[in-house]
């Protein structure tokens, strides 16, 4: 059965739409796992100032920046692609689906690059 699930992510002979779907599913699962981690990590707020601030000091560092940037890419992609899906699932603009896909990907890249830049500047203490 796992081999079958991997077929959700096969791209040979498939169009960009399949890849968009696979990425949407993958980022959704990744974000759900992150949600659980985030909720757990927030418990440290209840444990007091030292615990919370040491957590922040460990995670808001240049070493974790790569993970943060990838996470933001996953989040922005899932959100913007999701908006594209809402559009189509409500019955609008199937004929223009290729252009809408390209525009969505462009928006994802622009928003992600801006967010990553801001995070980079923040972590580097600028």
């Amino acid at each position: 059965m796992i081999m079958n699930l991997l077929r959700w992510f096969s791209v040979k002979g498939k169009s960009l739409f399949s890849m968009a779907f696979s990425l949407h599913r993958l980022t959704g699962v990744v974000l759900t796992i992150y949600l659980c981690m985030h909720l757990a990590y927030l418990t440290s707020i209840r444990m007091g100032k030292e615990v919370f601030e040491s957590f922040i000091a460990t995670t808001v560092t240049p070493q974790f920046l790569v993970f943060d940037i990838l996470l933001v890419l996953a989040g922005v992609y899932h959100g913007v692609n999701g908006l594209r899906l809402i559009f189509h699932e409500f019955g609008l603009a199937y004929e223009n689906r290729k252009s809408i896909l390209y525009v969505s990907v462009a928006i994802v890249l622009v928003v992600w690059l801006i967010a990553s830049y801001k995070m980079y500047m923040f972590v580097m203490g600028v």
């Binding site: 059965m1 959704g28 949600l35 909720l39 927030l42 919370f52 959100g79 999701g82 801001k118 923040f122």
Partner: protein
């Protein structure tokens, strides 16, 4: 096979409502998560200091915003997992197990997160 008229109504309405709410919660989340990210990263370098975090958690306005964010994100995430599981043969054979597990996961996530909001 459906036997009871009431059961038929509930059963028949779960899927379309879940689908619609998945789309609506997705829409709302794009706004709430952007705001949450903006709040924690784009306002000031002090935004993640303990004092300010607690100040936000103690204020009613933010509590409501966080509660809504938690509700919509927990629903969207676990309904998404539910859809993924129902797409498999396992989900075809045991839909009730999948529905119950995902609902339970949603309750646990929402409950656990709310503890934080209630603590301040």
């Amino acid at each position: 096979m459906v036997t009871d008229k009431n059961e038929m109504h509930t059963k028949r309405v779960l899927e379309p409502l879940a689908w619609l709410f998945q789309l609506i919660s997705g829409l709302i989340l794009t706004v709430l998560i952007t705001f949450h990210f903006y709040e924690t990263h784009f306002t000031s370098h002090e935004a993640m200091k303990y004092g300010l975090v607690v100040a936000r958690l103690s204020s009613l306005g933010y509590k409501i915003m966080y509660a809504l964010l938690l509700f919509f994100v927990a629903f969207h995430a676990f309904n998404g997992i539910r859809a993924i599981l129902l797409d498999t043969n396992f989900g075809a054979k045991y839909p009730q197990v999948v529905n119950s597990l995902c609902f339970l996961a949603f309750l646990i996530a929402f409950g656990y997160g709310s503890l934080l909001l209630l603590a301040f």
